[in-house]
């Protein structure tokens, strides 16, 4: 497409990559505000259930591990796209999306589980802040999965030659960002409850 021009840029960074970094900067403020709110309201719920009544840190550790592993898969996918190895690239792209899917699946399980334990959006401050924070993160992961699957299909159709590695690299930036945000959420929301 047009972007594949060896365009002249003042900074030597392609437009799309620079633009995407800028976008990630604004995403930092977005999640920063959400996480800040969660922390500001932590322990302020007037009624239960409280985090200790709901969390299962083992389950969330597994899903966190899956998501982090998918970041590694993403690196591999980009590597093979750059190498021009279509099959390997496709496999790693699918693995990345799969890691994300497992994570979202765990999250869906967790949400239903919590709901059965009596926690809902409107139940108390903890439910409000927890569901909105992790829900927005989950929505970001889901968007990323769609993006990765689109790339997988393009790759399968042979529309992802190594000249278009930037398409994959930018998806990778997004995916790593979403992972890093999860590390912070996992620390601030889950681990903090068990750190005494």
């Amino acid at each position: 497409m047009v972007d594949a021009h060896a365009e002249y840029t003042s900074l030597g960074i392609p437009h799309r990559k620079l633009g995407f970094w800028t976008f990630l900067g604004s995403e930092c403020m977005f999640f920063g505000s959400l996480i800040g709110t969660y922390l500001a309201y932590r322990g302020k719920s007037l009624t239960g259930p409280y985090p200790h009544d709901t969390f299962s840190v083992q389950v969330t550790t597994i899903s966190t591990f899956t998501l982090l592993a998918s970041s590694f898969f993403m690196v591999m996918a980009l590597h093979y796209v750059r190498e021009g190895k279509r099959f390997a690239a496709g496999a790693w792209l699918l693995a990345t999306a799969g890691g994300g899917l497992i994570f979202v699946g765990f999250q869906a399980f967790e949400f239903t589980e919590f709901y059965h334990k009596g926690l809902s959006l409107s139940k108390n401050l903890y439910g409000t802040t927890f569901f909105v924070l992790t829900g927005f993160h989950g929505a970001h992961v889901s968007g990323g999965i769609l993006w990765l699957l689109s790339l997988f299909v393009m790759n399968a159709q042979g529309k992802l030659p190594k000249e278009k590695e930037m398409d994959v690299e930018i998806a990778g930036l997004y995916w790593h960002f979403v992972d890093i945000v999860w590390i912070i959420i996992f620390s601030c929301v889950y681990l903090l409850e068990f750190a005494q």
Binding site: L18, L125, T128
Partner: protein
């Protein structure tokens, strides 16, 4: 395909005129005009709302409108002027001028630019459509919870406001990303950052503010929306939520927003004053760094809007300090502007009148702002007309006068003709007189204890005289804008032919024809200093050779932006109906958005080359 530029068709694939050409345009200049025209229409609406309020307050016990309508009017006046008039008027300039001033042929993402505009337009229509539904927003432009919560306002009025603002936020965000990339990445060879025109610098600072500040209000609004629609507890005191969280999130955005509104005007004035003084901007690098400093400090002063909420002495002491500190870069700018005029050969053309008016009036706003930085004084002035006076000196005396300076200054570039000077002077002086008649007495009213946002007052309160004066002034302002409108429209056919450089300008936009060709420059001009064109004219710097560059690439028109924009607007707009009628509008919007995005990504055609001479 990457190297296939030589196969670009020369023939125009679409009409150059007509409605369809405007709907599908991705040309930054046409998008700039679209922004300008829409914003001016909304500016007139916001002005009309103000005029009705002034009529109501002209004397005690006004009966022009009901309390509820008055409250809706000041809510929509503030919302309209900030998000739908001043911001997009700034956008009109940075769309039209930025590529021309940095020697680029377009913006980095032309279709994204069109999308920004359409999303903005749909957002503006969405918010204002609330009048047709009989539920205009009436919780104030700040919509503090719990008044804006379901218990405070049960109707959809606040939903219109929350969702509309999010739509407008999406538009600003996309424009922010686009222009950061454009400015950082598409400067003509030789144009280092410190050689960039100060206007472009201020636009860059503004875009960073937009990109970093809008997510914060988005979160604040999302919380409010969830509280209203899905029963969450973010701002519900009964559940342990704190209404002040909303204020923190709102003003963490809200104060940078003030600089989003004023910095483009400061940039325009920094272009106009040197041109009409026939001197370079005094201490340009100080003006630039002052702008950056204002941008940074803007994130650290928000709680000065909350001195009366009782945050405690530590917070008040800190925010008092940061707020006062902003006086330093602001004063540095004012001093540099005066030093620019000093020793020049001043021509009092209309752009210069407005730019001088800006310096004059903005300084007053800055001085009254310094008063509020002292919490002890702010306690007596918060939410009185003194504040109304202060920010109108900043946003009208500052932003609006600056933007008018820009319109008169660059009109010949847009239209190829000059605006009428006589009418311009009449417009300026009427605005100036009307403005001071309206807003200077408001300082007195504030010190006399008149609170803001009251729809009526009694005669024994002693506020009648200055209110009467202010209302007269408001009518003078309104009449002045009609003079402007007449001048603007008639000068398109009757104005003097401008030529490419009517003001003896120093920056690159004057190096191309008026109006510029679709590709902006036949040849990208060489840049060796911060005043490239001045150097060519007076110092014999090399000019671009005649003829036209090969391989100029004009992006194809596209209808996908308006489709994606419609999808975005429906996603947010439909959210309001979810609790009652289900998510159907939002889902339709989502599918429109996804389909539009795919259409966008796979749009065929690689643009075209300019027609041969």
């Amino acid at each position: 395909m990457a190297t296939a530029t030589h196969t670009l068709p020369h023939a125009h694939p679409a009409e150059q005129t007509g409605v369809w050409s405007w709907i599908t345009t991705v040309d930054h200049k046409r998008i700039g005009i679209l922004y300008g025209v829409s914003a001016f229409v909304l500016f007139m609406m916001g002005g009309l709302e103000a005029l009705i309020m002034r009529m109501q307050l002209m004397g005690p016990n006004g009966k022009i409108v009901s309390a509820q309508m008055f409250n809706a009017l000041f809510t929509m006046h503030g919302t309209t002027m900030i998000f739908m008039a001043i911001m997009p008027l700034g956008a009109a300039f940075f769309n039209y001028m930025t590529p021309l001033m940095i020697g680029a042929r377009d913006v980095a993402f032309p279709r994204l630019n069109a999308l920004s505009y359409w999303v903005f337009l749909f957002g503006a229509i969405f918010i204002n459509s609330s009048f047709l539904f009989g539920t205009p927003p009436d919780a104030g432009w700040f919509a503090y919870a719990p008044l804006s919560n379901r218990t405070g306002t049960a109707t959809h009025s606040v939903d219109f406001w929350i969702l509309g603002l999010q739509i407008l936020g999406v538009a600003s965000m996309m424009a922010g990303v686009n222009f950061i990339v454009t400015i950082l990445n598409m400067r003509a060879p030789g144009m280092t950052l410190m050689r960039m025109p100060v206007f472009v610098w201020m636009v860059l600072v503004v875009q960073f503010l937009v990109v970093l500040a809008f997510p914060i209000i988005t979160v604040g609004l999302v919380f409010l929306m969830f509280d209203r629609l899905f029963g969450t507890n973010f701002y519900i005191p009964e559940a342990g939520g704190d209404p002040l969280l909303y204020q923190h999130l709102f003003w963490l955005f809200g104060h940078p927003e003030v600089y989003i509104l004023i910095l483009p005007a400061m940039g325009i004035v920094s272009e106009v004053l040197p041109t009409f003084s026939r001197k370079p901007l005094f201490g340009a690098e100080f003006v630039i760094f002052a702008g950056i400093a204002i941008g940074f400090l803007g994130f650290g002063v928000w709680s000065h809007h909350m001195f009366t909420t009782g945050l405690g002495p530590v917070a008040d002491i800190s925010f008092s300090f940061t707020t006062m500190l902003i006086a330093v870069p602001t004063a540095v700018k004012v001093f540099n502007w005066i030093a620019t005029v000093w020793g020049g050969q001043l021509r009092f053309a209309t752009p210069m009148l407005f730019a001088l008016g800006f310096v004059f009036m903005f300084t007053i706003g800055g001085l009254s702002g310094f008063m509020h930085a002292v919490p002890a004084i702010d306690l007596q002035q918060q939410d009185t007309y003194f504040i109304v006076a202060h920010f109108h000196y900043v946003l009208f005396g500052g932003s609006i006068l600056g933007l008018f300076a820009g319109i008169y200054y660059w009109y010949p570039k847009f239209m190829g003709r000059l605006m009428d000077e006589r009418l311009g002077a009449i417009h300026f002086w009427m605005t100036m007189i009307g403005f001071n008649l309206t807003f200077f007495p408001m300082h007195f009213l504030g010190a006399d204890g008149m609170p803001r946002r009251i729809y009526t007052y009694a005669s024994w309160e002693g506020w009648s005289f200055w209110n009467h004066v202010a209302t007269l002034g408001a009518f003078v302002i309104a009449a002045a804008q009609l003079v402007f409108l007449y001048n603007y429209l008639t000068s398109r056919v009757r104005g003097k032919i401008a030529g490419s450089d009517p003001w003896d300008g120093a920056t690159l936009e004057w190096a191309t024809s008026s109006p510029p060709p679709e590709w902006d420059f036949d040849r990208i001009p060489p840049v060796t200093s911060s005043r490239p064109l001045f150097d060519q004219k007076y110092h014999g710097a090399p000019k671009a050779p005649p003829g036209r560059d090969d391989g100029i690439h004009i992006p194809p028109p596209s209808y996908w932006p308006i489709i994606v924009g419609l999808g975005v607007a429906m996603i947010f707009g439909g959210a309001m109906t979810i609790p009652a009628h289900g998510p159907w509008i939002t889902l339709t919007g989502f599918f429109t958005f996804v389909a539009g995005t795919f259409g966008w990504v796979f749009q065929p055609g690689y643009g075209y080359a300019p027609e041969e001479h």
